[in-house]
């Protein structure tokens, strides 16, 4: 029995990280109608910076809970700053061009970031296990489960709630939703669409950076991690529906569960199963489960 509980927790853990990734992508797509291929490496940037801070300053510099707050926040802020530079300089000139240009430019940024990681952090993975091991483990039957994983699962749910609150219960969220529905009309109602695009892009990127900052102590910061994450985030988007936050949440849970089942029972075709499900959803409901 306890093995199934571990399976379920692992599925939730994976879903949590995927939700954070896809939520950011969805905010950017929902408001700006841009599929940000660089998003995976914004997640990786969060991971690299967090690991670099922990390795350079030393985990001892962050007593108690600060170890779980300060380094990821630094990662998130660096990602936010990167996004703040990227949107007006690289993306804004592309808005009036065809979508292929936007895809090309974001793909270019993905590759540039990958090379920058190699240049700045070197070819070897950055690994910091202390924050992960310090939290210890919990007993589930005869098995033990890392407490850090509970933290990451909780983070996913907290961010999901915070995003729901932001989008549906605040003036800013309502303005953001209005702009995502009809940007011309929103502009005519007084929304500064340019500024809102920048803010949306930075928020979306920072959520990805947050995911990277928390996953790095469980895994490692390694070249290629952003591309791998991006591919999985796209599966979630296809299943949940482009631009839908509810879709990101449900899609992440589905992909998390499927990947866990795949890893446990069909490890050779784990990714193929995910893409197969995505293909089925695309065939039956091309807009995804919750897409417009």
């Amino acid at each position: 029995m306890s093995i199934y509980i571990i399976f379920a927790l692992n599925a939730l853990l994976f879903a949590s990280v995927l939700f954070l990734l896809t939520a950011g992508l969805n905010i950017i797509y929902g408001v700006m109608r841009i599929i940000n291929l660089a998003h995976g490496n914004l997640y990786a940037l969060g991971a690299y910076v967090t690991a670099w801070v922990l390795l350079t300053v030393g985990y001892q510099a962050f007593p108690g809970p600060l170890l779980y707050i300060v380094p990821p926040i630094i990662g998130v802020l660096v990602v936010g700053l990167g996004a703040l530079i990227m949107e007006p300089t690289l993306l804004r000139p592309m808005y009036k061009r065809i979508e292929e240009f936007q895809l090309l430019i974001t793909f270019g940024v993905l590759l540039i970031l990958e090379d920058l990681f190699l240049l700045i952090f070197g070819p070897y993975p950055l690994s910091v296990r202390e924050p992960y091991t310090f939290l210890g483990v919990s007993k589930i039957g005869d098995l033990s489960y890392p407490n850090y994983n509970f933290l990451v699962i909780a983070l996913g749910f907290i961010v999901a709630f915070a995003l729901w609150f932001l989008l549906y219960k605040t003036k800013f969220g309502i303005i953001l939703r209005a702009t995502s529905l009809d940007r011309e009309m929103a502009a005519a109602m007084g929304v500064n669409v340019k500024s809102l695009f920048t803010v949306s892009f930075v928020i979306g990127a920072m959520i990805a950076g947050l995911a990277g900052g928390f996953i790095v102590t469980k895994d490692t910061a390694v070249l290629g991690m952003g591309i791998e994450a991006l591919v999985l985030a796209f599966v979630v988007m296809v299943i949940g529906g482009l631009g839908s936050m509810k879709g990101a949440f449900v899609g992440a849970l589905i992909v998390g569960a499927l990947r866990q089942i795949g890893t446990a029972y069909f490890p050779e075709i784990e990714l193929a199963i995910l893409w197969l499900i995505a293909a089925v959803v695309l065939t039956i409901k091309p807009q995804g489960l919750f897409g417009r």
Partner: protein, 237 residues
């Protein structure tokens, strides 16, 4: 003069949609811009709110040149409210959220949410009943009310109504004409783009007729019925 449009040319892509167009609207005045479909009414309205860039010419509002200002500045600071042809109510937002957007965003003559709601309910009491309904589930007439109320929530000096009466039953048209008169009494100037000459003549104090992007008549709305050639052009015969 509140609004002065001076000799503007507007292009959409390679097509020139407005040619040397001039018009003006005084304070507290209701003006109608009448013409057949494709004559250039919507292009004129969109140029005034700033959604279409002006290639040459000048638009001044309250004596200030607004030609280069982006739409959000015209809406929130200059004081121009816009209700588009197809209402364009935000479908996933409730009626309340649609309308409060303007109150939150307006930087012009701030008014409390409660006072604005009261003003809007005085003009469209029907909105009380559907206040929490999502825009998607509103009828065509309700969407038009929401769209006009939303533009009003910006507390504009000038309200642009594009085809406000289109597709409405005659009895509902009367209802909307009453609403327009109530809005006028608030001290708001109104420019209405309309393709129905009879409604246009009924609601406007002054009338402009437009065809192929050019103003072909300016003056008394009732006098338009004395010129059959002009009427035929406007009606697209």
């Amino acid at each position: 003069m509140l609004l002065e449009v001076n000799n503007i040319d507007v292009n959409i892509g390679a097509v020139q949609v407005l040619r040397d167009l001039s018009m003006n609207i005084d304070k507290d005045e209701t003006v109608v811009l009448v013409g057949r479909n494709g004559a250039g009414k919507t292009s004129t309205i969109k140029s005034i709110i700033g959604l279409y860039p002006v290639k040459s010419g000048k638009i001044t509002f309250d004596g200030k040149d607004i030609t280069g200002l982006p739409p959000h500045v015209r809406a929130t600071r200059t004081g121009i409210g816009y209700s588009p042809e197809d209402s364009r109510v935000f479908p996933d937002l409730t009626v309340e959220e649609n309308i409060k957007l303007g109150i939150w965003l307006s930087k012009h003559e701030k008014m409390s949410e409660k006072d604005m709601e009261e003003t809007i309910f005085n003009i469209f009491p029907e909105l009380k009943r559907i206040w929490n309904r999502r825009g998607l589930y509103c009828s065509g007439g309700e969407k038009k009310m929401v769209s006009i109320a939303r533009a009003l929530s910006l507390r504009p000096k000038l309200l642009l109504l594009d085809e406000a009466f289109e597709g409405l039953a005659p009895v509902v048209v009367e209802r909307f004409i009453k609403a327009v008169n109530q809005i006028k009494q608030l001290g708001i100037s109104i420019l209405i783009a309309e393709s129905n000459v009879n409604i246009a003549a009924k609601v406007g104090e002054r009338l402009y007729a437009i065809d192929r992007g050019e103003i072909i008549y300016a003056g008394d709305p009732m006098k338009i019925f004395q010129d059959q050639t002009l009427l035929n052009t406007i009606r697209g015969y």
